[in-house]
């Protein structure tokens, strides 16, 4: 069961429009290393974890990832606020505007729609947790690429925060892996 709380996990104060930045940030919404995939990956795996340790950690991290999806959506909305079709044209984003207008759509940076092929569960607790650890490392690397592409300090703050969460989650998954190795 989930209960919505009417606030963001981390404050977003982006005031400057930047459509191109919104488009690449979208990768962490609906791309292969994105937060939507992360939430589904962990929540989906949580149901069949062999004990309460795995079940609890995957539920908790999966839930946190949903709050990161919300942060990214808020960031993209702030980066495109007030944009007209002319702004989309100027940014070379006619393709996006044609199908989605000013709405959000979970896709990767080059426009491939979100797919469950991004997540995996193979019926083996070790393989699953290794997958989760790799996912955190890949998401960290993508956040670093996005940070490299960003100069707006108000975009950098939440990106640095989200990158750091990948490091913490990786460490916790590694501890969970050790727990199952020693069991």
């Amino acid at each position: 069961m989930w209960m919505y709380e009417k606030r963001l996990a981390f404050p977003i104060n982006i005031k400057k429009r930047d459509l191109k930045l919104a488009k690449v940030i979208m990768s962490q919404y609906g791309g292969p290393q994105g937060e939507l995939g992360a939430a589904l990956r962990y929540l989906n795996q949580s149901y069949t974890m062999p004990d309460d340790y795995g079940k609890t950690l995957l539920k908790d991290i999966g839930t946190e990832e949903l709050s990161h999806v919300e942060m990214l959506c808020e960031m993209m909305v702030a980066l495109t606020k007030g944009a007209t079709y002319e702004d989309f044209k100027e940014a070379g984003m006619e393709d996006y505007y044609t199908e989605h207008g000013i709405d959000l759509y979970p896709q990767n940076a080059s426009g491939l729609p979100f797919t469950t092929a991004y997540i995996s569960s193979v019926g083996d607790v070790f393989a699953n947790i290794h997958e989760d650890m790799a996912a955190e490392e890949k998401a960290r690397a993508v956040y670093e690429n996005l940070i490299d592409l960003t100069t707006d300090p108000e975009v950098l703050k939440p990106l640095l925060f989200l990158r750091q969460r990948e490091i913490v989650h990786y460490a916790r998954f590694k501890e969970l892996l050790e727990h199952y190795k020693n069991k």
């Binding site: 209960m3 009417k6 404050p11 702030a78 640095l160 750091q164 490091i167 916790r172």
Partner: protein, 130 residues
């Protein structure tokens, strides 16, 4: 639930926990896990009014609760961190009460929703879907 010996070797020391505000801004409450990126510095969040300040503090203690909870999931015997968790939870609950009395409901459990018209519709916090 059996607590595995492995966990006992990894109990956090008091001085490994970052201060509340810095830990929140970093996105990591644990000094030994913190890895900065290149030479990027952690900057304060801009807050311009009392309402945003209260909401910021709520989010900070909610973050601390969550980060310590993930740690406790893999270190269930760490009394030092549990103590910090209980403290953060208490602060979070008090701040939510104060915010909901002064401004608006954060969840459907808020007493501020007991009167008509239905207030859940209004007063999205600043910065949410703006």
């Amino acid at each position: 639930m059996n607590h595995i010996n492995y966990f006992k070797n990894y109990l956090v020391k008091d001085n490994n926990l970052t201060s509340d505000n810095l830990g929140f801004l970093r996105g990591n409450m644990f000094e030994d896990l913190y890895k900065p990126y290149k030479n990027y510095q952690i900057k304060e969040v801009t807050i311009t009014n009392e309402k945003d300040k209260l909401l910021y503090e709520i989010s900070m203690y909610a973050f601390i609760m969550n980060d310590l909870a993930l740690y406790l999931d893999t270190h269930p015997n760490d009394a030092n961190v549990l103590e910090k968790f209980v403290e953060a939870k208490m602060r979070y609950c008090n701040l939510v009460n104060e915010y909901e009395k002064k401004y608006n409901a954060l969840t459907l459990t808020s007493d501020s929703l007991n009167t008509t018209p239905w207030k859940w519709l209004n007063n999205w916090p600043n910065g949410v879907y703006n």
